[in-house]
Symmetry: C2
């Protein structure tokens, strides 16, 4: 009982914006602790408010700088902001102390910002399993917006990005090859394109390349039900274009609300998440099979010819389900 009160207490404090309670709750879901389920259940009623924004792009496009600039602009608006850095090499991860980290540190002492780097340690479902739980903590903590920063556009990044309401793909001039390589992937997942380092040579060419690629996709002019990903030019290091990005995030949120797209995405996201947890649970139970006494008994009957192995497997699955 003491434990349950403690979790409820932590959640109550997190909802008031206490950063230490937020940090502790994230640690609990990240470590797949015995209290994970308790935490998840306690958070459920307070979730669903935050706009989850995924930020992804190849290394070198200025992702951390952009995240930092977005946090600053959101704070200036009075929004409560959460940041989840799911890149182990991120400056937020407590690893290398880069300039960006110092910049983020300013925000870290600001009561309206929660910054967290995600580790995969211990959690049954890995990063893809821990991230949605951490998102729920920040959501319940009253964040208006949660930025999920990942690196690259590989499979695991796409998994994480699939947890977002709005996905921002960052590009930089002179990385045309990267665009080609990631073409199919980023066209599918991007709601907003940001061409950062727009003062560099080739920025306009990158924008043209993108426009061309987008023109190849499905196109229905004047059809409000289709979202056409805008392309925003920024110089994040100077804060230029950042408010344009925020405007597009707002516009996307309003579009999702109007069309019901947000509900569809959240529904799909919840299905994926539940399925992943159920799968991990079943795997864990299968691992426990040999420990129990059911399997040897069934095997004995098969050896004696009293039962065939398929019938025995049926009985075993039955016993797992009730176990």
């Amino acid at each position: 009982m003491a434990r349950q009160l403690a979790v409820a207490d932590l959640v109550a404090r997190a909802r008031e914006g206490d950063p230490r309670s937020v940090a502790r709750l994230i640690s609990m879901v990240e470590d797949d602790s015995p209290r994970l389920r308790e935490v998840a259940a306690a958070l459920a009623p307070f979730t669903g408010r935050a706009q989850v924004v995924g930020l992804t792009g190849s290394p070198g496009v200025g992702k951390s700088t952009s995240t930092s600039a977005l946090v600053g602009a959101l704070r200036a608006r009075g929004s409560r902001v959460g940041v989840l850095a799911v890149d182990p090499s991120s400056p937020f991860s407590g690893g290398a102390l880069l300039g960006d980290r110092v910049r983020m540190q300013e925000h870290a002492v600001d009561g309206g910002v929660f910054i967290r780097s995600m580790a995969t340690r211990g959690h049954l479902g890995g990063l893809a399993g821990a991230t949605p739980q951490a998102l729920r903590v920040l959501d319940a903590a009253g964040c208006d917006i949660v930025l999920v920063e990942t690196v690259g556009v590989g499979q695991s990044e796409i998994e994480v990005v699939s947890m977002a309401d709005t996905t921002v793909v960052l590009l930089a001039p002179g990385m045309g090859d990267g665009i080609q390589a990631a073409k199919a992937g980023i066209l599918e997942i991007a709601d907003v394109f940001v061409v950062n380092k727009a003062d560099r040579d080739g920025a306009d060419q990158t924008v043209r390349d993108l426009r061309y690629m987008l023109s190849l996709g499905p196109r229905r002019e004047r059809d409000d039900s289709v979202w056409k990903p805008p392309i925003v030019k920024t110089i994040a290091a100077k804060g230029q274009g950042i408010s344009d990005v925020l405007d597009e995030l707002d516009r996307h949120r309003e579009w999702m609300d109007r069309t019901g797209e947000r509900d569809r995405r959240r529904q799909a996201r919840a299905e994926t998440e539940i399925e992943a947890i159920a799968l991990a649970q079943l795997r864990a139970r299968i691992g426990d099979i040999r420990g129990g006494g059911t399997l040897p008994e069934l095997a004995k009957k098969v050896v004696a010819g009293e039962l065939d192995p398929y019938g025995a497997a049926d009985d075993l699955v039955e016993s797992l389900a009730s176990g």
Copy 2:
């Protein structure tokens, strides 16, 4: 009802030694057909009699030649013999028409021999899933001995060999590197070592190498409960030493009966088999999750904050079990 009678009929004919019924039953278990379970149930009461002998070894040791020679010697004794070739590149597989295949063809027209190459097509559990079912067919068909021929000593071969009562590992002179590489693996799985091509240079050295390796293992002289794998020299192409191999197979069977080792192995084998089938069943059910209506309903509750994803996963697993 007609279907059930047909399977019962096939089993009855197979028990009388009808090769076409045997072949059809193996095809049914191999293809994971809807009648697989029916066949497995119908076979169960008639299984457990045959001695299952696994034969394995690297390519080039003369495995097919040895199998063919063993079949000939067993037939000369009046034994009913089954052969399962689980190597897709085996001459028995219907692929390349090698000399060995021609030799085996002689046996194929002999009513006391059933020869079958195993394909993995369709079966949920792959080769490791299909082989024990095919073994049961040959067992029920009244085979005194079933030879399971595999290639190499890789993981899948060890899986297949683990279905045997007695495992024969074949070696040939001049393949010392192979012995070293496979050392740990073959010492654990071999009940009988055969050094084939014993008329070649280095045969005695191969025997000495093996003796040395075996001497490094656990050794309890005069302890009847421990089986010391014998080493038999053969020239399979000339039929030399083959009867010595059969003698060792008999000796091993008698030892297993005396010590209860056969029951222990069969118990372990049945456990592994049931577990694999149960695992395949659970995986298939997980694949069905998205098709049903349970997951969307649960996801809706999670999105609405009425349920947390762990509670939803519990419910989903519950529904799988009863489904």
